[in-house]
């Protein structure tokens, strides 16, 4: 039950397999597990599917494109509005070398929540009448139409919190929560990067953002600052 503490991000991600689906927490600079992303790059594993809010917008996820480790990205922001600067991801996407599944943000988080919460799908109005509804079922319930979206899970989740205790309880700061708490529920193996590891009890029970049950591995790292380049 106790989370396992790894000394380096590289050892924490060493056994991620080729072809794995990886949930990556964070929203641009906030709550982004940059040390784990860089370590994942260094594993050299390929054919990965990354599920994240954004790629190539100042985040480090784009570095996975350097050596073409990504086969597919599921994200909400992946292509800049302006064409003046292209991320590596965008270049590879336009060359047909990597697949992109663009998902509305509220649908992405709810699909992940369904995957983590044992629910069979998401019934949303978001995307109805748009390209997002193509090829998907629409249900009529009591006279209203809803788009059925599938649950989404990962083999691995890479998340970032402010502090952890040795049980694996995580505490977030400011807007560092975003996708992290839900992604922590929706993967078979959850690896958390934190700035500090403290004794159980040092995080008040009311301030736990992700309960220990969800966290398998911890690694303490200085955060790598990143910034939006929208």
């Amino acid at each position: 039950m106790l989370a396992e503490v790894f000394q380096t991000p590289d050892t924490a991600v060493a056994d991620i397999a080729n072809g794995a689906t990886i949930l990556v927490g964070g929203f641009v600079s906030a709550g982004t597990p940059s040390n784990l992303i860089r370590a994942l790059c260094r594993t050299g594993q390929t054919e990965l599917t990354a599920v994240a809010n954004n790629i190539g917008l100042g985040d480090l996820l784009d570095e996975l494109c350097e050596e073409r480790q990504l086969a597919k990205v599921i994200a909400t922001f992946a292509i800049r509005a302006s064409g003046t600067r292209q991320s590596r991801f965008e270049s590879q996407y336009r060359a047909g070398e990597v697949e992109l599944e663009l998902v509305p943000q509220g649908t992405l988080i709810e699909r992940l929540r369904a995957g983590g919460a044992g629910l069979g799908g998401v019934l949303t109005k978001t995307g109805l009448g748009t390209m997002m509804a193509e090829g998907k079922e629409t249900l009529e319930i009591d006279g209203e139409h809803w788009l059925l979206e599938r649950p989404l899970r990962g083999d691995v989740a890479l998340i970032k919190a402010w502090r952890a205790d040795h049980h694996g309880n995580l505490q977030y700061r400011l807007a560092g929560l975003n996708f992290n708490p839900v992604m922590a529920t929706a993967a078979d193996l959850v690896i958390a990067e934190v700035e500090e590891i403290v004794e159980p009890g040092a995080i008040a029970p009311e301030q736990v953002g992700t309960p220990a049950v969800y966290v398998d591995r911890l690694v303490q790292c200085d955060p790598i600052p990143v910034r939006w380049e929208g």
Partner: protein, 224 residues
């Protein structure tokens, strides 16, 4: 629409200022990336408007000029300041708030708006790919949807059209359009001109709009 040069209307800042005036005191408002972000700079603290950011903040007061804290950003990745009484939450709770109809108004950018209120704002066919972020959820969930955009494209093509030819963000969602030329309500019977920008005539608005615009009511000049 004519083949002549489109007139010069309001600056981005003045569009944002006019959009800010559209907000009810005490309301909860989400601002899209780009021009709409500027709106936060044009509300008064006494208006008691709470800005919500998709990434999990209720109660930021605008873009911060001071130190950058990577964990304190809006949905556009910009550093923000907080008001007293702000709160943080995760993305699931943030979109429960948005999708569940708890946001009084959203101000989003637009590429095209149709006469029945369809919005296209996430995908430029000529560029492909696109980024959707929270736009579709906001278009579906916000109680009032205000689109702040340039009245025409750089090439002089109307953005306010009979039917969108860009991929939609959502159908029948837009309530008000605020452009550099005009304030136009989207009603059951189509576009209704409410205000024109200083220096822009009713005729010019009609000329540079790609669908019929009802001007039967009192059309006034924007107060800025």
């Amino acid at each position: 629409m004519t083949n002549s040069q489109p007139p010069t209307g309001l600056s981005r800042e003045l569009i944002a200022l006019r959009a800010a005036r559209e907000l009810e005191p005490g309301s909860v408002v989400n601002l899209g990336i780009g021009l709409p972000t500027l709106v936060a700079g044009f509300v008064e603290p006494s208006d008691d408007i709470l800005f919500q950011a998709e990434n999990g903040i209720l109660g930021y007061s605008g873009v911060s000029e001071s130190d950058f804290d990577s964990d304190l950003i809006n949905a556009g990745g910009q550093p923000v300041n907080l008001v007293a009484g702000a709160s943080f939450f995760d993305t699931a709770d943030s979109f429960a708030m948005i999708r569940g109809g708890h946001i009084d108004a959203a101000i989003l950018g637009g590429l095209q708006v149709s006469a029945q209120g369809d919005l296209a704002n996430w995908y430029v066919p000529a560029r492909g790919g696109g980024s959707v972020g929270g736009a579709m959820d906001l278009a579906v969930g916000a109680k009032k949807l205000i689109i702040a955009m340039a009245h025409v494209t750089r090439e002089g093509e109307p953005r306010i059209v009979e039917a969108c030819d860009y991929p939609l963000t959502a159908e029948r969602c837009v309530d008000v359009i605020i452009t550099d030329y005009a304030v136009i309500d989207v009603t059951e019977s189509g576009f209704q001109l409410r205000e024109v920008a200083p220096g822009i005539s009713v005729g010019e608005v009609i000329d540079w709009t790609g669908a019929p615009v009802n001007v039967s009511g009192d059309v006034i000049e924007m107060s800025l």
